[in-house]
């Protein structure tokens, strides 16, 4: 007789489903200020614990505490909060345009604003982001023209990408924003290659890679890690763990067995797990990783723990797979409120200024949207000639013939 019983197959399930009470009882949140800050030249082997804990700087009272707390310039802090509000206003306006049938599709980043903005404000000119579709904050905290962004979403006559890309998949070399692919994860290895090139040429620029928890399962993620490990290029490997990949909770990407940050440890890459709803932590840890990269100390992985408050996209309905109240119960709170409370506490901000700023950005987005709409909506104003341009640098004869066939 065999000692072995029948095998059983396991499929991870989130703790709760629609109709259940939200449950984050297993989600551990260390007190702000309790995680140590190593030197940037620390060996990956000596900071393995940082991949399983959570670096936090802003406490419940709105104070910045612990070794990762940094003195930030007043203008930077105000710019950060205003950029987060601006991003939120932008998202809301785009949702309205989608509901009005002026764009086919949109994706909000609600609840994740601190991450892209916190990191971008720690980068330097010439550095290159390889973003996903939920880092619109990278552009919105820079001087990228918001009308151009809306025109991209409307696929109109002034769309910088000439109507070729889905809404949200922006591109701007000048703003260090690599063209977004709709194929997930492919850009992670591009960031590593770009950083390798910077090192090959003896440049001083660094790259940042962006990916979501779900897409860490893609081959390209692992390709990026092995290459980052082998060649030690100046790259920051960001994982935005917002708990949900469309309807799949992070356990379907392997998040129940180990943290996403821990994946870097097998490659000998220093890795930190951070409260992604804490702007002060985002900025401080980004700065640490960027400093490492620029000092030729190699790659760093950062898992930003956050929550996707919005649906995956305008084509998604999260109430079908998670409790409606789950985002309100999220233990790390709202990134905008947390930074706002801190700035009020230190006397840089007031409730009145906050309300005024919200109105200001709502107004800015209305005016910008109106202008953008005047160049066309839902593909209106796009040119059929643009189908054939830019496939190659010079149009080969077979494309010339096909363009003639279309009569454009």
């Amino acid at each position: 007789m065999s000692d072995y019983g029948p095998l059983s197959f396991k499929v991870p399930e989130p703790p709760v489903r629609p109709g259940d009470e939200p449950d984050f009882s297993d989600f551990e949140v260390p007190k702000a200020g309790t995680v140590r800050k190593p030197g940037v030249d620390t060996d990956a082997q000596d900071i393995k614990d940082l991949a399983t804990t959570m670096i936090r700087v802003l406490n419940r009272e709105g104070d910045v505490v612990g070794p990762w707390a940094e003195e930030l310039d007043k203008d930077l802090l105000l710019h950060a909060l205003r950029s987060m509000l601006r991003t939120r206003a932008f998202d809301e306006r785009m949702m309205t345009l989608q509901r009005q049938g002026k764009t086919s599709f949109y994706m909000k980043c609600t609840g994740e604003e601190a991450i892209a903005i916190g990191q971008q404000l720690a980068l330097s000119e010439g550095d290159m982001n390889f973003p996903t579709y939920r880092q619109q904050g990278l552009l919105l905290c820079q001087d990228y023209p918001v009308v151009d962004m809306i025109c991209q979403n409307l696929s109109n006559a002034r769309d910088p990408l000439r109507g070729r890309q889905l809404p949200v998949l922006y591109s701007s070399k000048k703003h260090g924003f690599f063209t977004i692919s709709g194929n997930l994860g492919t850009q992670y290895i591009h960031a590593v290659g770009w950083a390798m090139a910077s090192a090959i040429r003896g440049d001083t620029k660094i790259a940042t890679a962006w990916i979501g928890d779900g897409s860490t399962a893609e081959n390209d993620f692992h390709a990026a890690l092995v290459n980052a490990s082998v060649y030690q290029p100046p790259v920051v490997l960001n994982i935005v763990n917002n708990q949900w990949a469309i309807s799949s909770f992070q356990g379907i990407a392997g998040g129940d067995q180990a943290t996403f940050a821990e994946r870097a440890l097998g490659y000998g890459i220093p890795s930190l797990r951070v409260d992604g709803n804490d702007f002060m932590a985002v900025h401080a840890v980004s700065k640490w990783a960027i400093e490492r990269a620029r000092r030729n100390l190699g790659p760093t992985m950062i898992e930003w723990v956050t929550y996707r408050v919005a649906p995956h996209s305008t084509s998604d309905d999260p109430s079908k797979y998670r409790p409606r109240e789950e985002s309100a119960a999220w233990p790390l709170g709202d990134p905008v409120l947390r930074l706002k409370n801190h700035l009020i506490k230190v006397g840089l901000w007031t409730e009145e200024r906050h309300t005024q700023a919200e109105a200001e950005f709502d107004g800015e987005m209305r005016v910008a949207a109106k202008e953008a709409e005047s160049y066309g909506v839902m593909g209106g104003g796009s040119s059929a000639r643009d189908i054939f341009e830019d496939v190659y640098k010079e149009m080969p004869p077979h494309l010339v013939a096909q363009r003639q066939k279309l009569g454009v």
Binding site: M128, F130, P160, L161, R162, R164, Q165, L169, S171, S172, K173, F178, T179, S181, N183, T186, I189, H190, A191, V192, G193, W194, A195, M196, A197, S198, A199, I200, R201, A207, N219, D220, A223, A224, V226, N227, V230, D390, V391, Y392, K393, P396, P397, H398
Partner: protein, 338 residues
């Protein structure tokens, strides 16, 4: 001008471009210190250093993906995928990324990468070292696909590829690396030392991408082919005494349909010949275009002579490979058809 093997010509192409442009970098599996399993990069690391010529992990999607990132930065990576049979893990990076970055960013970003890879059979390599997957790449807009058949073409086209501002997939027929091969595997191997197209300039020169070469002029039929099959076609013509014109495409995409059309209009008969499998092979595209352009000049149906629609076998290689006897038989049928 010196006599070179195709390996030496390919190495010389990389050497010449690296010498002229410090943005050219070479990497791939075993290409660094060792110089590549086929020796195409031998000596380059010693000459240009480890930051311009280096070994890569066994990770084809990573090799191509990192190459794309480097190209986006401004380098001109010339990367090696050790066998075309290993290129599939990189297919997404080639199709969805390299080929589309210019288009989707409206020219804001570009990825001028050259992907070199040995292709084809005739070396007793079995199903994982013999395939000809070129049609998977000619089907993709945004790519250029090249298959040279001589040392002279290999060098001129590889330099043109590295200097091209668009991504190029450059397939090297591995059975031609050391000498021309006409399919007569039972005879002693030939080498390039006496072949006129093994005579190659030492310095910089380019050949235009998208231009075919007429290897033999003739009037009885047109054989449209590329790579190793150019020499098989020559042998078949010689052995049958049929006066066929042989066109070596050299570049599959963009296709030089003009040269093909002119020839078929003249001969009225067309055979498409390749090692790759038949169904949905590149021959289907050529046949379709010849039919569109030359229908009223055709005196017989267009004939495709190709590998069988099976995986590439090991022991039965010479029953699979479209050798001169089979090509000759088919050529007779083509010219005798009313």
């Amino acid at each position: 001008m010196v006599q070179m093997t195709m390996i030496e010509a390919i190495r010389s192409a990389m050497d010449v471009t690296m010498e002229r442009d410090e943005n050219v970098v070479v990497f791939g599996e075993d290409v660094g210190y060792f110089g590549g399993v086929f020796r195409c990069t031998a000596g380059l690391q010693k000459k240009y250093g480890t930051s311009r010529v280096f070994d890569a992990p066994i990770n084809e999607s990573g090799i191509v993906g990192a190459g794309i990132g480097m190209a986006v930065y401004g380098l001109r990576p010339c990367i090696e995928v050790q066998f075309a049979d290993y290129i599939y893990p990189a297919y997404d990076q080639i199709v969805s990324e390299a080929a589309r970055i210019r288009y989707r960013s409206a020219g804001d970003f570009t990825a001028p990468i050259t992907i070199r890879s040995p292709v084809g059979g005739g070396i007793f390599g079995g199903q994982t070292h013999s395939q000809s997957p070129e049609a998977l790449f000619t089907h993709v807009s945004g790519l250029k696909t090249i298959v040279p058949s001589t040392p002279y073409d290999a060098k001129g086209l590889l330099i043109a590829s590295i200097e091209d501002d668009d991504p190029v997939v450059f397939f090297e027929p591995k059975r031609l690396y050391n000498g021309p091969f006409d399919g007569h595997h039972e005879r002693p191997a030939q080498n390039w030392t006496t072949h006129p197209l093994g005579n190659v300039p030492e310095g910089h020169y380019t050949l235009p991408i998208g231009k075919a070469a007429i290897r033999r002029e003739g009037s009885a039929a047109t054989i449209v082919t590329y790579g190793t099959m150019c020499f098989v076609a020559e042998a078949a013509v010689q052995e049958t005494g049929i006066d066929a014109e042989i066109i070596d495409l050299r570049t599959l995409l963009p296709l030089d349909i003009e040269t093909i059309t002119q020839s078929v209009m003249k001969t009225g008969r067309c055979m498409v010949l390749h090692e790759a499998t038949l169904t949905s092979g590149f021959g289907a595209e050529i046949a379709a275009q010849v039919q569109e352009n030359c229908f009223y000049s055709l005196e017989a149906p267009i004939l495709r002579v190709t590998g069988w629609d099976t995986p590439y076998p090991h022991a039965q290689e010479w029953d699979y490979f479209p050798g001169p006897a089979r090509v000759g038989r088919e050529l007779k049928e083509l010219t005798e058809a009313i």
